[in-house]
């Protein structure tokens, strides 16, 4: 049997199996069809029905079950997540796993299309070391992402001393809903 305790390990291995079998396009198709439209359809329903309140309910439940170190901030027209210790990428780092070359992209791979369907766009940045931030706004809202500390105060992951680590590349998405729309 394959289980959920090491889910992130075989999830990562699966991305690479799909890439070798059908290229990067198949990996994107998997994130959208299998994860967004099937596995995580409870998240889609919540956020489509309840908007920002649905985001708070969904990420509150799932991140606490996964054992994440994170903060959320809700302000007028925006929902923000600061991920200080990603349980998913953290599992891979602790176990020296990394079959697929861009594991962190899977979040944008399913969350991006899911939020687009619900009427939201994403500003997001991750450092491939288990830290990232997200700001979700309505598609009709043209406000730019907040500056460091402006919205989340001291909880803003960008203020952490290890946010920018030597030799690591950050991926940034501005008002995006697609894993390949990096700045």
């Amino acid at each position: 049997m394959i289980g959920v305790y090491d889910f992130c390990g075989h999830y990562d291995w699966t991305f690479e199996w799909l890439r070798q079998t059908g290229g990067e396009a198949l990996v994107r198709e998997y994130w959208d069809e299998a994860i967004h439209q099937n596995s995580q359809r409870h998240a889609c329903e919540l956020i489509q029905q309840q908007g920002f309140a649905g985001m708070a309910t969904y990420w509150g439940h799932t991140l606490s079950h996964e054992g994440a170190g994170y903060d959320t901030t809700v302000a007028e027209g925006v929902f923000r997540i600061d991920m200080h210790e990603c349980p998913s990428k953290g599992f891979l780092l602790r176990n020296h796993l990394g079959a697929y070359h861009d594991y962190c992209n899977h979040c944008m791979g399913w969350i991006g299309p899911m939020l687009q369907e619900a009427g939201f766009a994403v500003d997001h940045e991750h450092n491939h070391c288990g830290q990232c931030w997200w700001e979700m706004r309505r598609l009709s809202d043209d406000n730019p992402p907040s500056g460091p500390g402006m919205l989340a105060g001291p909880h803003d992951v960008r203020l952490c001393p290890d946010w920018s680590q030597a030799g690591t590349k950050h991926d940034l998405y501005c008002r995006s809903n697609h894993p390949d729309h990096k700045v």
Binding site: V4, F7, T62, P87, F91
Partner: protein
């Protein structure tokens, strides 16, 4: 079974003691996606790959430690799966997993998820690919929420797994 004490038998370990049950949704969706695109043979190829590549550290531990290592692995494995009710029985000739409540089927049913009908076959294909390099084999009977899985040394005259003995999941 104390999870803290048994975790050394797992190839990959986490800070949390038990996995997040909603990931069973992801496992089920992954099987469905691969089967839809590549058919049952493609799905079996994926399962075999998981068994002999991703789980290769388990095979190595079983090769060195034999049946006691098989029992230790499954005890640790099921201690970390939410909602599992499984007895692991070790004797001189085999390791038997008496799965009274499969955590995956239980969770998928509780959330009214449509379960991929061949879901339970993955236990045979993944475990057989893990067992073979260690000189072991597995036979699975039952499924759809409860089953018996028997791990034993490979023998020339042992009948092959009868897939009809593995129930469809509903």
């Amino acid at each position: 079974m104390n999870t803290e004490d048994s975790r050394h038998a797992l190839p990959y370990t986490d800070a949390k003691k038990v996995g997040a049950a909603d990931f069973y949704f992801g496992i089920n969706a992954t099987f469905g996606f691969i089967q839809q695109l590549f058919g049952l043979e493609g799905l079996r190829r994926y399962w075999r790959g998981l068994g002999d590549k991703y789980y290769s550290p388990v095979s190595a531990a079983w090769k060195t430690g034999g049946l006691p290592a098989v029992a230790a692995y499954w005890r640790a494995f099921f201690a970390a799966e939410p909602g599992a009710e499984v007895e692991v029985i070790l004797d001189s000739a085999s390791v038997i997993l008496e799965v009274r409540a499969c955590p995956a089927i239980t969770h998928l049913r509780a959330h009214a998820r449509r379960i991929v009908p061949c879901f339970c076959q993955h236990c045979y294909y993944v475990s057989e690919a893990m067992a073979a390099p260690a000189g072991l084999t597995v036979r699975v009977e039952g499924g759809n929420g409860s089953c018996r899985q028997t791990f034993l040394p490979r023998q020339e005259h042992l009948p092959a797994q009868d897939l009809n003995q593995i129930k469809e999941a509903k």
